[in-house]
């Protein structure tokens, strides 16, 4: 066990935990965005910043990637943390002003203005989709490209990737994008079209892999469903 101080509280946690995990365990709230329990921590959005250390050597670190250390002093809501956090939200808003997730963060943390030019790029490069694709969906369809201000998320050569199964996982997890599947009759009906099919992903992975709940579009399951192919064979004969 590791002993550390969190917001003046002496706590003990498992070795190997991150500060964020320790904070969650003790019920201390730290806002996150690019963090997801099912994915590896990334530390890109800088929203989960906390202040560690004391005196002139105190610094801000992303709690989702920083491992707990013996005797570490952590403070989750210092002025420095709050100011940095607000600036991060303001920057995110300037990139994706229409995102409900980011708007909620802004209202919760009192960000009332955006002083930067609005770019409407929608993508804030949090990388959730990239990790979703590779870590949960076992696909390698999308990834980061370029660096610095030219950084983007895309498929190889910006054309449809052969690796993509159109599972929709990337859209499902995106905090900003507008492309999420709304179902065939999104406004009026509860979409359950895909659940009426026999998705092949169930056979392959023993798990439903379709995040789009839009079986007709992807079509992998229909195309490869054993019954369907048997049927096809029959009819062709």
């Amino acid at each position: 066990m590791i002993s550390l101080k969190m917001n003046r509280l002496d706590v003990k946690v498992e070795d190997g935990w991150t500060i964020l995990e320790a904070a969650k365990f003790y019920g201390l709230e730290i806002p996150t965005l690019c963090y997801n329990e099912g994915l590896s921590p990334y530390g890109g959005c800088r929203l989960c910043l906390v202040e560690v250390g004391e005196g002139p050597r105190a610094k801000l670190v992303s709690s989702c990637t920083y491992p707990v250390e013996e005797g570490l002093v952590v403070r989750t809501d210092t002025r420095r943390v709050i100011e940095a956090r607000k600036m991060m939200i303001e920057l995110m808003l300037s990139l994706a002003p229409n995102s409900k997730v980011i708007q909620d963060l802004a209202s919760k943390f009192g960000v009332k203005q955006v002083r930067f030019k609005i770019r409407n790029e929608e993508c804030i490069l949090c990388g959730l989709c990239v990790r979703m694709c590779s870590e949960q969906m076992d696909g390698r369809a999308i990834g980061f490209q370029n660096r610095g201000y030219k950084r983007k998320i895309s498929t190889p050569f910006d054309i449809r990737s052969e690796e993509c199964r159109l599972c929709g996982g990337c859209m499902y997890i995106c905090p900003a994008c507008q492309l999420r599947c709304q179902g065939p009759q999104a406004d009026t009906a509860v979409c359950n079209a895909c659940l009426n099919m026999d998705p092949t992903c169930l056979d392959h992975y023993d798990d439903l892999q379709c995040w789009m709940y839009d079986a007709g579009r992807c079509g992998t399951c229909i195309r490869e469903s054993p019954e369907k192919s048997a049927e096809k064979e029959q009819t062709s004969k």
Partner: protein, 621 residues
Amino acid sequence: MKATKKIKTIKDLNQTIQSYIQKRKSEKRPVLTVSAGTCGQARGSLKVIASLKKAISKEKLEDKVKIKVTGCHGFCEAEPNIIIQPQDIFYQKVKPKDTSDIASQTIIKNEIIDRLLFSDPISKKTVLKEDDISFYKKQKRILLGDNALIDPTDINDYLSIGGYSSLTKVLSKMAPEEVIEVMKKSGLRGRGGAGFPTGYKWEFTRKAKDTSKYIICNADEGDPGAYMDRSLLEGNPHRVLEGMIIGAYAVGAEEGYIYVRDEYPLAVKHISLAISQAEKMGLLGKKILGTDFNFRIHISKGAGAFVCGEETALIASVEGRVGEPRQRPPFPAMKGLWKKPTNINNVETLANIPLIVEKGADWFSKIGTKGSKGTKIFSLVGKINNTGLVEVPMGITLKEIIFDIGGGIPGEKEFKAVQTGGPSGGCLPKEKLGLPIDYEGLTEAGSIMGSGGMIVLDENTCMVDVAIYFLNFLRDESCGKCLSCREGTQRMWEIVKDISEGKGKEEDIQLLKELAQTTKDASLCGLGQTAANPVLSTLRYFRDEYMAHVRDKTCPAGVCKELITYLIIPDKCTGCLACIKVCPQEAISGELKKVHVLDQEKCIKCGACFEVCQFDAIKIE
């Protein structure tokens, strides 16, 4: 060069070293040393060498003189230069056509050729010997000095100045822990930028428990305006190798990597050659000099990314991945290359090691200030008379470097600021010229030591433009992972760019400050944490200049294109047509010997006319 024989014991190596030292001492012929580093070659030193060889053979002097091709001597302004021993004559800016005179007059008749001597920019007097040049006088060249003595492509030449004797001392008499103690006692700190004490760094890796460990030489010299590492690798690669081998012995590494920029082809060539020579001689490989110590070095070439100078990004790049920094801890000393304990040192740091081993920790710690020991190489560039690499003891003042060594600002212009520490550093104004240079002093003043770039700026430099320059560099070189760094540098660039174009508002300055502070605070790695320094330091010392752009919409230095106009002064214009010829927009009209007219509508402010006018008839307003 003769084929190198494998040396099997420490004793044999000591004997070989002694025999080469004797050989050097007994050399009675005059030696002509020609500098041929990258800048020397860019200025035609290879042609000079070829024609010098011809001239020597024409005078039938082949057996009577020795020509030695070396790396950079540091005094780039005077490239290509030839030093003639034993008289120690220093000829500068030598052209191929001068070489026949050197052979016929200086070598045969012992006459000095006045036109090739260096003329001091301040006293205007010519100087005969290298040592008498003001540029060298205040320097302490413990690292760079040897560049002029040795042929970097010949391991035996390095032996002849006592090279690799520190290695034999370490292998025969010192335990790894003792080597580390010496480094700790010497007070040597990392020369790559952050200034972490080398001895302690080694100790962390030494103490890490694992079956295999690595040592990496960081030669990814990315700071624009800094090239000391290139010069050391080109001019004295074996010194760096020796330091690295000693380091490997101390931390317990059996494998090492030199991560070098691909933009330095000559450095790559020389260090690769040095490695293969050292392997042939048995200084690298299995059971080095008959001991139980094994060590191999590989070269890993960078592919053009500034952020790879950061330790964890560098490791990712050596592993063949995208150079994105990661969270520390765990530090590379615990989990580095392939998750094994890894020690990373900069080129200049490693070059210091053999000297400290040879001369002792006390000798080293006597040089410098309380917290910063030894010397530091700076690349003194920009608006300065004596451009070049200067090696000075820590604690020397900026003023001494810029005015005594650098010979001041050319063209009787006013000194404005000096930029140190590369993109992570800051600009220091005139008031800070008395600042003694060490790690802490520079940090306190709002800049950093960095890898040692020192760019002198004169009155014609706009500080807002300098800030834009660095932000533009950083927004491109940021890996882009942290929102704070990627968007922070991009947004700061946008704001400052607006200011330079006269579109700035007063509240922008406040926003800029806030954003700069957050970028510093919230980013993961050193790049982001220091990315705001160029903005913060220019805001701190040159706020008035920002305000002139914002309030009065003027650029006092006459640099920011949107805020200036080029004008022809009728009284001075002689009607020579020169500007008309160069104008890419055909914006200037006029006839021979009649005053020319500049059409502001067409002018794109490229500055071509300003550059060609020999009568100062074009002014910037």
